[in-house]
């Protein structure tokens, strides 16, 4: 069968064999949890607890501020020992609530479960907001915002993103295999809120077990499992929509412009917990892997757990890691230390050894066109990067720099080892900064 996909992209070695067959394990509670108040795109939450307060698991410790914001909850019970700036995976010190776990892990008062059929759409949305649900594929966009499309943008299609195209990561794969009921309940909630006509679950063809299991589970529902070609960045929202329903989101637009809402399967499962059990987003599944690690695993991790704990649970390191990446190798962020906490967007933690750290010197562009052929945004990475390096931002903009989705395919494929996406990011920032000024 011809698998569906999008034009462009590439297939890096996926290295999923290290963890793909490892069942999800619960990561034990650390002694101290560092819970950042900003773990989503949008305004950070405002702390509503003080040092010395005793908190219960699931209790709100930071309140949402503004529409594009969600509250933050205590991942376990214990004592608040600090409300201050702490190192954040984003690379800066940012406000966080530090909790010393009491080991009881006692639940606080949770909101009552909702009946999907009986609850109003507003109640469902409100629940998703109050439980702090954000996109868990990595972008961490507040889920309730995506689920509140304006009236003039009718939504007819829901797409569940189970692609997981980043190398090494297997968390969504394990979730689909082991906890598919959570995903299906979440789908029911989303279908009710959006009133969609059709629902798809997009999964890369390298997860045949997940495709089969979900296809069987969805047989009686109006949900279609769509196997997709194994290609990066198949999980990028716009590329996924093109592959599943053959609609092209206009440049600068959003999925809702073509009547589609995309949610990651992990987000969908979290929505089910929030609505059916009143449980806020205080944990997630993450893949801990990489060649420097003793035993790669898929862990259920409480938000706020220091990365060091995750590494310990996986048997520690074989060799000193030379690079620590939160997320996948194509779009993840390098970390300065293992003391930063896991956050809602932590889909993976990868430890690379020195020989995987490419320090090839960059050469001149030989105009081979590899970056052009790989670019899923169909722009000219080499040209834009060349302008960006000369600080010629207007030219970079004219060559559609802003359409870059920062997938990194260009840099990955460049034989001259040019940091293309890095230069383009720089140009994008400059262009956007200028726009904000005028």
């Amino acid at each position: 069968m011809q698998l569906k996909t999008f034009p462009g992209g590439l297939h890096p070695p996926d290295n999923k064999q290290w963890s793909a067959h490892k069942p999800i394990e619960d990561c034990p509670l650390p002694e101290e949890l560092i819970v950042p108040l900003g773990q989503h795109i949008g305004a950070p939450a405002v702390p509503c607890v003080a040092v010395g307060d005793l908190v219960k698991r699931g209790q709100v410790i930071g309140e949402a501020k503004g529409f594009v914001s969600v509250p933050v909850h205590a991942p376990t019970s214990g004592e608040v020992i600090a409300v201050e700036d702490r190192p954040h995976p984003m690379g800066r010190d940012l406000p966080a609530v530090v909790i010393r776990a009491d080991g009881e892990d006692a639940w606080g008062d949770l909101p009552a479960p909702l009946d999907i059929a009986a609850a109003t759409i507003d109640e469902l949305r409100q629940r998703i907001l109050s439980c702090g649900i954000v996109g868990m594929g990595g972008a961490t966009f507040p889920a309730h915002v995506k689920l509140s499309p304006p009236d003039e943008k009718p939504i007819d299609t829901l797409i569940l993103n189970g692609v997981e195209c980043e190398p090494f990561l297997t968390a969504d794969h394990r979730l689909m295999l082991e906890e598919s009921e959570r995903i299906l309940s979440g789908i029911a909630v989303l279908q009710k809120i959006l009133g969609v006509r059709q629902t798809f679950i997009g999964i890369e063809a390298n997860k045949p077990d997940a495709i089969e299991l979900l296809s069987r589970a969805c047989a009686d529902l109006s949900v279609e499992v769509t196997p997709l070609e194994v290609k990066y960045p198949q999980g990028a929202e716009k590329q996924l929509i093109l592959a599943c329903v053959d609609r092209e989101v206009p440049s600068g637009g959003l999925p809702m412009d073509v009547g589609v809402v995309v949610q990651n399967v992990g987000t969908c499962a979290a929505i089910a917990d929030a609505v059916l059990r009143g449980i806020p987003l205080i944990e997630r599944i993450a893949t801990i892997s990489g060649p420097a690690l003793v035993e790669p695993k898929n862990l259920r991790v409480r938000i706020g757990t220091p990365l060091r704990k995750l590494v310990e649970v996986c048997g520690g390191t074989r060799v000193e890691p030379a690079k620590i990446i939160m997320g996948g190798p194509m779009m993840g962020m390098t970390q300065l230390s293992l003391e930063v906490p896991a956050i809602r967007g932590t889909s993976g933690l990868l430890l690379f050894t020195a020989d995987q750290v490419s320090t090839r010197p960059e050469g001149p562009c030989i105009r081979c066109g590899r970056c052009v052929r790989a670019c899923p945004a169909h722009i000219l990475p080499t040209t834009i990067a060349a302008y960006a390096r000369l600080d010629l931002f207007e030219e970079a903009e004219a060559y559609n720099a802003l359409d870059c989705i920062e997938c990194g395919c260009c840099t990955y494929s460049c034989p001259a080892a040019l940091p293309l996406v890095q230069s383009i990011r720089y140009a994008k920032n400059a262009i956007l900064a200028k726009r904000r000024k005028v």
Partner: protein, 329 residues
């Protein structure tokens, strides 16, 4: 943590593809053609190959030293230019001509523009054309093939393209026995420059490059297809004056040009659509020059002319960006 942690922005992975590996692959792909030329033309061919290659590497090193640029001989691009240049010369080229060719290719056509990646024209072709204009006699004294000869006193012969052109000019018609030579042309038993001789060896090399994903099919296929179609039209109109497409394919530098010169990354378009336009342009110009130009062979001129058009082609063949919505009227 005691040791140093690398911080960098994503991606943290690379394909491992490198400029030197690409250049090396092209050199490997040229080896069959080089070997056939040595077999057919003997020692003089080997000497020409060696002088061109070593001189190109030497000039590159001297230039980089004088201009204070980083030494990049390891990238293999100078050696590749040297081999390509040799393959564009007659076997009987005097040593000084090979030297001048290497100088023009590396110093004038490449380093003065800024080195690898910045030259607008294919260096080996620039050198060839400069030599052709400056030393027409030496450049068209083709050695007749004499397998495994060690002698430097070669018998000269015309190239099939030259013969055809001459016959049409003198008698108004092609020689009658043109098609009889096709088997020889294919294997390399004909007069010509080192790399023009064996269609088989060039085809092998070209397919190797496509298989290894060093080049894409776009340029060679569009180039060759255009030559076949365009020359086919002339042939159908008057088969006595215009040779058939197969003759065009097998003789002269067409295959060398289509697989190895028109696919030179630096001087040709970066987009797949641009490559198609480039190939079609090369094909049209090649046939026009061969049939109506002052030289029997048109490949070098065709590719150089299209090199000049490359920035323009790149500009007008930009892909339609993702999510492009046509302006509403």
């Amino acid at each position: 943590m005691a040791n140093q942690l690398y911080l960098s922005s994503s991606p943290h992975f690379s394909s491992g593809e490198s400029t030197d590996r690409l250049m090396r692959q092209v050199i490997y792909a040229l080896l069959p053609a080089a070997a056939v030329s040595v077999y057919m033309f003997g020692l003089p061919a080997l000497v020409t190959l060696l002088i061109c290659t070593l001189a190109s590497i030497g000039f590159e090193a001297v230039c980089q030293k004088l201009m204070g640029r980083p030494r990049t001989l390891g990238d293999g691009s100078a050696a590749l230019t040297g081999i390509l240049l040799a393959l564009n010369l007659p076997a009987s080229s005097p040593w000084w001509m090979s030297l001048i060719g290497a100088f023009v290719a590396i110093v004038i056509a490449k380093q003065i523009y800024g080195g690898l990646g910045y030259n607008p024209f294919n260096p080996a072709l620039v050198a060839r054309v400069v030599l052709l204009i400056s030393f027409p006699v030496q450049m068209t004294r083709w050695t007749a093939p004499a397998p495994l000869s060690l002698s430097f006193d070669s018998v000269t012969s015309a190239t099939p393209l030259g013969q055809a052109k001459e016959a049409v000019m003198l008698h108004g018609a092609l020689p009658a026995d043109l098609a009889a030579g096709f088997g020889d042309f294919f294997l390399g038993r004909m007069g010509g420059s080192l790399g023009e001789v064996s269609a088989l060896a060039l085809l092998l090399g070209g397919l190797y490059l496509i298989w290894k994903k060093v080049i894409t099919w776009h340029t060679p296929v569009s180039y060759l297809a255009t030559v076949v179609v365009f020359s086919g039209i002339f042939w159908l109109v008057d088969g006595t004056r215009y040779p058939d497409p197969l003759f065009h394919l097998l003789t002269g530098g067409l295959l060398l040009g289509a697989f190895f010169m028109a696919t030179d990354m630096v001087t040709t378009p970066v987009t797949p659509r641009g490559m198609l336009v480039f190939g079609v342009g090369c094909g049209l110009l090649t046939v026009l020059i061969r049939l109506f130009g002052g030289y029997p062979e048109g490949v070098s001129f065709a590719i150089l002319l299209m090199n000049a058009a490359t920035p323009l082609i790149d500009r007008y063949t930009q892909p339609k960006k993702f999510g492009f919505v046509p302006e509403k009227a």
